[in-house]
Structures are given as structure tokens and as C-alpha cells.
């Protein structure tokens, strides 16, 4: 056991490839916990950001600036009565949220947070990812059917048609990115998520900029399709609250409903991770080939610590700006503690960055490297998360037939065209 624990530490393979079950389990647990925390943070951020878009304050009561709101929500949802309609199909109703949740969490096994920071490096990584994330629609369809009610049924039908349609354009956009991996000396591409990032590293370019503007168009297609895939505004047809009350989860309540939400947010993070991996260089920091000197490495390795320092500073400013009324004392203390916590994390990260600045194989150096990978990956994903919120705040909702029209008559031909042109250009350039 201990042997298995330590033997992996020096390796630069993923636990899956190194066939180390213990570390695979550890990674799975870390990722599961991380995604759950990320979903909670996303929940808070979405409410806050959306509120500020809409000249509101958002949650302010539970904890300083509503920081504890997600926990309160989670607690409330867990304690809430779990209603199953009498006419519903009990078993299917029960199992539907689990299908969605399972699908969106299984995807994380192949997401590469770094060259060895993934549970497994599958040979068919991206195929597996698309396949499993397409299983999520089953949960929605089945939930709508099992509720035995009209609005959920319409929501489920909409959702299934929508997701199946956008998968086509999405898949073709992905294929054109995979095609780009094969434009190297050997002429062989890869489906492995890690391999895709590594080939971007080798070719010295993020695929979004490759064959400009072909990569950009494929990326744009994917970025649109992924919003539709996750049923988010402006494509939130399946749960359009002004039309179908809540769409497929109208009849759900309490914990089961929260599982749907968890699945939706996890799926959002997952598809963003695909986009980051395929087009935005995955875990790579900006200009890894151009600015390669150790000084640059050190500079970029300071970023995680500085980010947390910045967050700590924001929290501190928030503490200072709190009204000095005795009502706010506990909130003030809470925010100050939060700021201190962020500051400690920042200091820790900075210490690691300084200690691990040499590029040797010491534990600190490897740790430093790993933090850098995960940091840049998460940062890129976070940008997408913000975009999701931004879309929701800005745009009205498409109508179902318009959505399908865009999917089949605009996105599909464009992605097919991009695929062909990419292939032709790739051959010509070679």
C-alpha cells in the first residue's frame, strides 16, 4: 500500500496509465471534491455576477456578501421534502437525476489538468468524453417522461432533439481540431486529451490560432454548441421557465432537483474543459515555447500565488468597507477570516513557487509545476464559466425551431466546411 503510494510520486504518468489504482482513487476523490466545490462556487458567483449585471446585490445575508449562501442552499435542499408525484414512474423518476449526474462526473476521468494531472490518459479520450457527456441527455429525457406531466415531457422532447442536433456540429468541430493534431512529422494524430495538448505544445500554437481563421471558426462553433449542449441561456429551451415553468425538472424538488443542478453545472465545467483542451492549449501557460527561460518560468509560477493574494486583497477591502455597525460584527470577522485564509493560501503558493523554482526533480519543483498546470487550466475554464453567466444576463431565449434551424442549417454546414478546408490546408502546408 505504502509502496504504491510512494512509487507514483516520482512518475510523470497519469495514475491510469501507470496502473496505480490507489492514486487513481485519490485523483478521483480530489476531482470529485474539487468539482463539487467548483459547482458551489459557481453557484455563488453566478448569482452574484448576474445580480451585478442587473443592478442588484444578490445574496448578502448568509455570511459576508452571501459567501455561505451555497451551503445554506444545499442544506435547505437536503432537508426539503422530496416529492414524487403519484402518477410518476417511481423507479425511473428516482434514477433519472443519477444518470445525468453520473454522466457529467464520469467525464472528469479523462480531463487533463496537467500532463500527469488526470485520472487516466485514454487512447480514445475525446471520443469517450463526447460519448459520456452525450449520455447526460438520457437523464433529461427520462426525467421528463417519468414525471408523467405535460411540461416536463415537452421539455424532454425539446432537450433530446436539441442535444442530438448540436452534437453533430460539435462533433465535427472537434474532429477538425483532432485533424490538426495530425499535422506533424509522423502524420498521425491522437484522440487522447493529453496528446492533443502535447501536440499543441509541439506545434507551438494553440489550435484556436492555427490556420487562422479556421481554428477560430471551429472553436466558435464548439463554443456555441456547448452552450446548447448544456441547456444554458440563450439555448435553455429545455427548462425555459417562462414557457415550460421549469421544463424537464418541473416535478422535481429537494435533493433530487439539486442533483440536476449539480449535473448541469458539472457538465458546463466539463464542456468548457473540452474547449480549453482542444483549442486553448489546455494546461499550458501563455507562450510556453517563446518565453522559455527559467526567469519566465519563475515569473509565471508566481501567478497562482498572486491571484490568491489579489482575492485576499479584495476580501480585505470588503472587510474595511463593511458598515461599522454592531450588526455587522460577525460578518466582518467572517470576511476577515476568509481574507486571511486566502492570504495564507497565497503565501503557501508563493513559498512553493520560490522553493520549486529550480527545474530539478525535487518534490517542491514537481509540486510547483503541477500547481502551475492546474492553475492555468482552471483559469481558462473560469473564463468560459463567466461567459456562461454573461450570455444568460444579456440575451433573450431562442425559439425551438430557430434553434434547430441554426443547428442544422448554419452550424452544421459551417463546421463541415471548416473540416474540409482544414484537411485541404493541412495537406497543402505539408
Amino acid at each position: 500500500m505504502l509502496n504504491q503510494f510512494t512509487s507514483y510520486l516520482g512518475s510523470n504518468l497519469t495514475p491510469g496509465t501507470a496502473n496505480n489504482q490507489l492514486w487513481a482513487l485519490i485523483y478521483v476523490l480530489i476531482i470529485f471534491a474539487g468539482v463539487s466545490v467548483a459547482v458551489m462556487a459557481m453557484n455563488w458567483l453566478e448569482r452574484k455576477a448576474l445580480a451585478h449585471f442587473q443592478i442588484r446585490l444578490g445574496p448578502m445575508r448568509v455570511g459576508p456578501h452571501g459567501l455561505l449562501q451555497p451551503f445554506a442552499d444545499a442544506l435547505k435542499l437536503m432537508l426539503k421534502e422530496d416529492i414524487i408525484p403519484a402518477e410518476a414512474d417511481q423507479f425511473v423518476f428516482w434514477v433519472a437525476p443519477l444518470i445525468g449526474l453520473l454522466a457529467s462526473f464520469t467525464v472528469y476521468t479523462v480531463i487533463p489538468f496537467g500532463p500527469s494531472q488526470a485520472v487516466s490518459d485514454m487512447n480514445i479520450g475525446i471520443l469517450f468524453m463526447l460519448g459520456v457527456s452525450s449520455l447526460g441527455v438520457l437523464g433529461i429525457v427520462v426525467a421528463g417522461w417519468a414525471s408523467n406531466s405535460h411540461y416536463p415531457l415537452i421539455g424532454a422532447l425539446r432537450s433530446s432533439a436539441q442535444m442530438v442536433s448540436y452534437e453533430v456540429a460539435m462533433g465535427l468541430a472537434v474532429v477538425s481540431a483532432i485533424l490538426m493534431t495530425s499535422f506533424n512529422e509522423t502524420g498521425t494524430g491522437t484522440l487522447s486529451m493529453i496528446g492533443i495538448v502535447q501536440s499543441q505544445q509541439q506545434q507551438g500554437i494553440w489550435f484556436i490560432f492555427k490556420f487562422f481563421p479556421l481554428g477560430l471558426i471551429a472553436f466558435a462553433i464548439f463554443a456555441i454548441a456547448m452552450v446548447a449542449e448544456t441547456n444554458r441561456a440563450p439555448f435553455d429551451m429545455a427548462e425555459a421557465e417562462s414557457e415550460l415553468t421549469a421544463g424537464y425538472h418541473t416535478e422535481y424538488s429537494g435533493l433530487r432537483w439539486s442533483l440536476f443542478m449539480l449535473a448541469e453545472y458539472a457538465a458546463m465545467i466539463a464542456v468548457s474543459a473540452i474547449a480549453v483542451t482542444l483549442w486553448l492549449g489546455g494546461w499550458m501557460r501563455p507562450f510556453p515555447n517563446l518565453l522559455h527561460a527559467p526567469a519566465w518560468d519563475f515569473l509565471f509560477s508566481l501567478f497562482p500565488g498572486l491571484t490568491f493574494l489579489g482575492l485576499a486583497a479584495i476580501a480585505l477591502i470588503g472587510t474595511a468597507r463593511m458598515p461599522s455597525h454592531s450588526f455587522f460584527r460577525i460578518q466582518r470577522i467572517g470576511l476577515a477570516v476568509f481574507a486571511a485564509l486566502l492570504g495564507i493560501i497565497a503565501l503557501l503558493l508563493l513559498v512553493i513557487a520560490v522553493a520549486g523554482r529550480s527545474a530539478d526533480a525535487s518534490l517542491a519543483a514537481r509540486f510547483n509545476e503541477g500547481i502551475g498546470y492546474v492553475y492555468w487550466f482552471v483559469l481558462k475554464v473560469a473564463v468560459f464559466m463567466y461567459l456562461f453567466i454573461w450570455y444568460r444576463a444579456t440575451w433573450p431565449r431562442y425559439r425551438f425551431d430557430q434553434l434547430m434551424k441554426i443547428g442544422w442549417k448554419v452550424m452544421l454546414p459551417i463546421s463541415l466546411g471548416v473540416l474540409m478546408v482544414t484537411a485541404i490546408v493541412g495537406v497543402l502546408v505539408k
Partner: protein, 394 residues
């Protein structure tokens, strides 16, 4: 999409007979076309209150609708028969509660006409200013909720933020924000407060950029245009046949505004334009209302600059006892023609009051407007009709 709209707009008046409006589909090409009957409302986020629409769907296509109303019925008209004319005045505020000032204006003017008294000019100007402010507030609320129905969340908050400025003026004028009860029979109860003119002028300067802001969010937005253009088309002939009034009628290209057609209060003294649309679709109705807000600002500006001095209450007897007779008086409320038909038997209480609410009449057009469209369009059309259930059910 195109064939649906043609189908609707191509309907002549013959399509309005009852056999076509009920829920039976005229032709049934297959044994089973999977018709689905769903209840939209009375508890539904997009029915603006407690409207219940029974939708007959083929997949998502609407084959027919039937509105079930009355969930908010309070018997306002019956109550009137047991109240004196003065006592009934606050009740009218509760019909179209987002445009309470207009309701009060219509009622007061109708009774004044019956009494044969006239409000003094200053009172008329105050009435115009407040009514037009109320029109803007009503349109703001419509815009916010309509955009929310179509999926744009943010305009709702912007419009509510700016509506607050109007409500503040109301509050300072008469102490109430929503159900204002601002006017009395024969004039106004309250003189304008100190700084009234300044605040109104401030609002005149404050609001145009805000309209630009709403328009920046919606007018040129591709999704907004796709969702509203050619949706819920109603031809001018159909609109007139159904008695539709207000912005809905004007968007179909009929230049009919009671402020111009039968000027009341002091409207004949102001210079303003009546915006009209061409297609009669949801987008035109949106544009008509947006322009109307700007025109209202013009009216308010003229009124506040030219407001005369003088009394604010006409010569009205202490006990209001109109002569035996009947009167119909209508005004242009934000939602359309708001008419009061009052029958007096010479006593202190009206014998009968019948209100012609614009929302109720406009709601009739829902069926003809949504046939052949999709479920999502039903929501858009209900929003664009700008109904208030308090007024529909009374």
C-alpha cells in the same frame, strides 16, 4: 415559420366566426396527430397573473387556444352600484393597477361629463402630466416583463429601477405609489408639491438615455428580432373587427389614438405624434410602445413648461348627484381604449357602471394571433398584448 404567419395574416374577417375559434381542428389528415392539451396557467410564470390559457398543441405547434378568465374577479362593477360616486373612485385604481392614474382620469372625466362640470385648466395639466408619467411606468413594466418572457432577464431590472423615479413622484404627490387615487371628481385633490416641476424636469432629462439603454439591449438584438418579427401578426382589419385598441391596434397600421381622435383633458393643446407600425407583429408593437414613451416625454415637457396657475378643483357640489342619464366616456389608457359607461338614476349611487377595459378586449385577439405558432410564441404574444388580469377580470 413563414407559412404560419401568412396563414394568420391572410385570414379575412370570415375567419372570425365562432366555428373556427373553438378548439376543434378543422381538418384531420391522419387518424392520430398526437394532440396535446395543456393548461398554461393559472399558475404559470408567463401569464402575467392568473390567466389560464388552454392550449391545444400538435407537438409544439398551437392548434387553438381558449382563455379562461375570472380568477381575479372582484365584482368591481357591482361594487359601484352600492357606493357613491366619490366612494367608488379608489376602486377603479384596482383594475389596471399598473396604470391606476389613467383609470382614475377616465372615471373622473366620465362623472364630470355626467355632471356637466369641467376641471380647471391647471388640474387638467396636472392630470396630463401624471397620466403620461403613468403611461411611461406602465410601458416600462410591460417592457420588463415582456423581455423576461422572451428570456432576457436583465431589462426587467433596468425598467424597474427607472420606474422607481416615476413612483417617487407619485408618492410625493399623493402619498401612494401604485394605487394612487390621484384625482377627484372635478379636478385634483392636491396641489403640486414644492419642487414638483423640478423633479418632473429632472425625470425628463433622466429618462431618454434610459430608453436608449433598453433599446441597446433589445432593438438590434438578433435573437430579439427573430423572436418578435412576424410573430403574432394581426392585420388591421382583424384588429378592428375584434375591437383591439391601443398600441396593438396602432402597430397594425391604424392611426387611432383617442388623445388625438377625441381629445380629452388638455391633450388638444399639445404637439405629439402617434407612432404606428406596419406589420402588426410583436416587434412593431414593441417599437410602437418604445416610441410612445418618447412621445409621452414630449407631452410631459410641454405640459410642465406651460402649466397654468389657478384653482385645481372645479365647481362640484358637495354631494354628487348626477342628473338621470347615461354617459360613455373613454380615454386612451396605456393599454388601449378605457371606457366608462355610467347610468345614473339621479341618486348618489350609480345605477350601473360598465367598464370597457382594453386588456379584456385585446385578449380576445390572442387566439387569432397565436394559431400556427409555437408554444414559445404564445408567451411572447401574451406579453406583447400587455394584459393586466386585474383589469380583464375586474
Amino acid at each position: 415559420m413563414k407559412d404560419h404567419t401568412n396563414e394568420v395574416s391572410g385570414r379575412g374577417l370570415s375567419s372570425l366566426d365562432r366555428s373556427n375559434l373553438d378548439l376543434e381542428t378543422p381538418e384531420k389528415p391522419y387518424l392520430d396527430s398526437n394532440e396535446l392539451i395543456i393548461n398554461m396557467g393559472p399558475q404559470h410564470p408567463a401569464t402575467h397573473g392568473v390567466l389560464r390559457v388552454i392550449l391545444k398543441l400538435d407537438g409544439e405547434k398551437v392548434l387553438g387556444t381558449e382563455c379562461v378568465i375570472g380568477y381575479l374577479h372582484r365584482g368591481v362593477e357591482k361594487i359601484a352600484e352600492n357606493r357613491t360616486y366619490t366612494m367608488f373612485n379608489p376602486y377603479v385604481d384596482r383594475m389596471d393597477y399598473v396604470a391606476a392614474v389613467s383609470n382614475g382620469l377616465g372615471y373622473c372625466e366620465a362623472v364630470e361629463k355626467l355632471l356637466n362640470v369641467e376641471a380647471p385648466p391647471r388640474a387638467k395639466y396636472i392630470r396630463v402630466i401624471l397620466t403620461e408619467l403613468n403611461r411611461i411606468a406602465s410601458h416600462q413594466l410591460w417592457l420588463g416583463t415582456h423581455a423576461l418572457d422572451i428570456g432576457a432577464m436583465t431589462p426587467l431590472f433596468y425598467t424597474f429601477r427607472d420606474r422607481e423615479e416615476i413612483l417617487k413622484i407619485f408618492e410625493r404627490y399623493c402619498g401612494a405609489r401604485l394605487t394612487t387615487h390621484a384625482f377627484r371628481i372635478g379636478g385634483c385633490q392636491y396641489e403640486t408639491y414644492a419642487g414638483f416641476e423640478k423633479e418632473v424636469k429632472n425625470f425628463l432629462a433622466f429618462f431618454p438615455p434610459k430608453i436608449d439603454e433598453y433599446e441597446a439591449l433589445l432593438t438590434g438584438n438578433r435573437i430579439w428580432i427573430e423572436r418578435t418579427k412576424n410573430v403574432g401578426v394581426i392585420s388591421a382589419a382583424d384588429a378592428i373587427a375584434l375591437g383591439v385598441t391601443g398600441p396593438v391596434l396602432r402597430a397594425s397600421g391604424v392611426k387611432w389614438d383617442l388623445r388625438k381622435a377625441q381629445p380629452y383633458a388638455a391633450y388638444s393643446e399639445f404637439d405629439f405624434e402617434i407612432p404606428i407600425g406596419t406589420n402588426g407583429d410583436t416587434y412593431d408593437r414593441y417599437m410602437v410602445r418604445m416610441v410612445e414613451m418618447r412621445q409621452s416625454l414630449r407631452i410631459i415637457e410641454q405640459a410642465v413648461n406651460g402649466i397654468p396657475e389657478g384653482p385645481i378643483m372645479g365647481k362640484v357640489p358637495k354631494v354628487i348627484k348626477p342628473p338621470v342619464g347615461e354617459i360613455y366616456h373613454s380615454i386612451e389608457a396605456p393599454k388601449g381604449e378605457l371606457g366608462y359607461f355610467i347610468v345614473s338614476d339621479g341618486s348618489t349611487q350609480p345605477y350601473r357602471i360598465r367598464v370597457r377595459p382594453p386588456s379584456f378586449v385585446n385578449l380576445q385577439a390572442l387566439d387569432i394571433m397565436v394559431r400556427g405558432l409555437l408554444v414559445a410564441d404564445v408567451v411572447a404574444v401574451i406579453g406583447t398584448l400587455d394584459i393586466v388580469l386585474g383589469e380583464v377580470d375586474r
